[in-house]
Symmetry: C2
Subunit: 411 residues, 2 copies
């Protein structure tokens, strides 16, 4: 079954045979989220999952590329934890955390990268590229290194050098573009066209959403069912598009009877998708979204999200919604997640916890719903965003009596 | 079979029933590596592995604590990758990398922590403690948070505040001791005695080595056999002790016919165990080891290793050895590992790669040996140690012609 798919334009609906187009519709060039990959789901995929494989390739039967093209790093199969301490703090009955930070480069982006790099290998491309400074670029650089493929990363010249250095450590060629992020994105696209590199940029490459959707397959497999609600942070929209698509495909294939509501959480200072979703729900046409972008959660600080159409339409199909949270809530959520679940996430990774509080307040999620929060990126990627807010611990003499006094005073 | 064990003093050899002693021999108080846990291995353990469990608890039949006491985070079951690019660069036939960074707190220490926290739960202890600033403390703090157990960490007052902040994020109570590391270690021990906390300190708690040994079970299970040589970085000695013990137990239980040679790699500036090993091989008695400690590889910067006896004697039993590498080699190895395998490790994590070069030069490992390098800690824990050495990438205008010129000039 793998590789039996068509490419459908999210704008005009035209379909193209598998592997005939890389990114945009050749007819209308619709820029709101590239092409979507569609399968014939009248018959359930088989084997699904393939228990012999311990990675996202266990879902090969619903992936566009064969396992034999998979890059050598293990993406997917991250743990799902019950979170009783957090459930109690939030007053919900059942809460799980999908720790998607436990991947080769410590973010959920490794799912999309794994499938995109497999596609590049299948297509015989001799180079990879993307425009990003964040988790997607680190992920591409790591998987490319393991696959012995040269990689070219385009970043705006304002990108912080420590983030760039990690890409260089993986051997990626980094170009700092004297312009905006949009200009870096356009240059990456022109370069992939001119040099034949395969472009992994989110919202451009339909393979990325295919990898991202496997997180939903895992949640379904681990629970033996789907939950009532799934909450995930949203930047450019490619991750939430994948989360929704995974559950929608499970339903189409007859493997589940219903889909969970999928909720997107954006930072209040960078919420163009939340705004686009609410305009669309209000009956307005869905246009490319753009807005200001300021938040400490750099992984979701996106002013012009590339995957606007699937990020809005797929969420609407699941009967989900979008909420926003401010930076103080993001920092508090990051600390609460560490303290009550033992997961140290970057602010965007903890955003679903802050978002769930908002969803409960607004009545969009009820206390009896069974909820999964997807934790998308490790706190080690940007520790100071959170850790700068903690007090210095006390200095004590090396004496058990003094220690006893300190402990007595604090308890 | 689980929990059927005895505690044996590494100094005087006296044995004690399971759970009757926590740390040191009550008879001789031997300080060179606490007690060792011994099993009756006349009959092979069963089920081993338990395929229903995807964590180190699949080896419950050779662990001292039952799965039902396991803390909620998933330790173990990390990937083993073939590394053809590195094999080629080093001129060895077969090379694998065990990526032990893919654990809940991004280091191999999570294995020992998982079993130690399980033991604390079994014993009904109401608090956890350790002396460390590094990966062991972060690991304990994370697992304690997930287990809703209070944790007390003792660090010398010179410990860097960013490392401490991560412990605080997990809700650990951190005490900065106005004294040396040894004084912090002693205060932690006095505090665990006085307050009934369970002490996870490496080289003190025998449960830690039991968790650490599961990395060898995984290597055996994934390969369907044991390799010829296994290389791992060494700081206080508890990790290499576990690596050796795992293979030795597989042989005792009749599951493998031979044990691989286990090689320890120390930083040249902090090599007391390498020195102790070579003195011991030379026929001198094995004494507590001590020496200077200066290296950029902070996770193995240990001047007075606590687990000296098992770290020396177990390695000798496997017919392994110790080598040292300097800081420049550690930085180069970290970059080479990222570029040729897609794994970004901290300098200590990449030390086995530098060590393997030395082992090949010295003829201790041959080019036909099948070798496993254990990668013990993520590079995200201390990125500047490596990334500070990379050049700034070029700034280019947002123009495909200019890009073409730059690429032409560099290729």
């Amino acid at each position: 079954m793998a590789e039996a798919f068509a490419l459908r334009c999210l704008g005009c609906g035209r379909e193209y045979p598998a592997w005939s187009v890389d990114y945009f519709c050749p007819h209308c060039g619709f820029p709101g989220g590239s092409l979507e990959i569609v399968y014939d789901l009248d018959a359930p995929p088989h084997p699904f999952p393939n228990h012999a494989n311990f990675s996202l390739w266990r879902y090969e039967a619903l992936l566009p590329v064969n396992l034999r093209f998979a890059p050598p790093l293990r993406a997917g199969s991250t743990p799902l934890y019950a979170a009783p301490q957090l459930a109690k703090a939030l007053g919900v009955r059942i809460l799980w955390l999908k720790d998607d930070t436990l991947q080769p480069t410590s973010s959920c982006k490794d799912r999309g990268t794994a499938v995109a790099v497999a596609a590049a290998r299948k297509l015989g491309r001799h180079g990879l590229c993307c425009a990003s400074t964040g988790n997607a670029a680190a992920s591409l650089a790591g998987f490319a290194a393991a696959s012995a493929m040269p990689t070219y990363i385009f970043v705006p010249k304002t990108a912080p050098l420590p983030k760039i250095a990690q890409l260089q450590a993986f051997g990626a060629r980094v170009f700092r573009v004297d312009g905006t992020y949009e200009q870096a994105f356009s240059l990456a696209l022109a370069a992939s066209d001119k040099f034949g590199w395969y472009n992994r940029s989110d919202g451009l490459n339909p393979m990325v959403v295919e990898g991202n959707k496997t997180v939903s397959f895992e949640i379904w497999e681990e629970l033996g069912d789907v939950p009532d609600a799934v909450v995930v942070a949203v930047g450019d929209g490619a991750v939430i598009a994948g989360v929704c698509k995974g559950f929608l495909e499970l339903a189409q294939a007859g493997l589940v009877k219903r889909v969970p509501k999928v909720f997107g959480v954006q930072a209040a200072g960078a919420a163009p998708l939340a705004q686009a979703f609410h305009r669309f729900r209000g009956g307005k046409p869905l246009l490319p979204a753009e807005g200001p972008a300021t938040t400490i959660a750099d992984s979701i600080c996106v002013g012009k999200p590339a995957a606007v159409v699937p990020a809005v339409k797929y969420v609407a199909k699941t009967h989900g919604d979008y909420v926003t949270v401010n930076d103080a809530e993001l920092i508090a959520a990051s600390l609460e997640l560490a303290r009550k679940a033992g997961i140290f996430a970057e602010p965007s990774g903890a955003a679903p916890l802050a978002g769930l509080r908002r969803l409960l307040e607004e009545g969009l999620v009820s206390q009896n719903d069974r909820v999964v929060l997807i934790i998308t990126g490790s706190g080690l990627k940007a520790p100071q965003a959170v850790l700068g807010h903690l007090p210095e611990p006390p200095i004590i003499p090396p004496d058990i009596q003094d220690l006893s006094e300190v402990i007595k005073a604090c308890s």
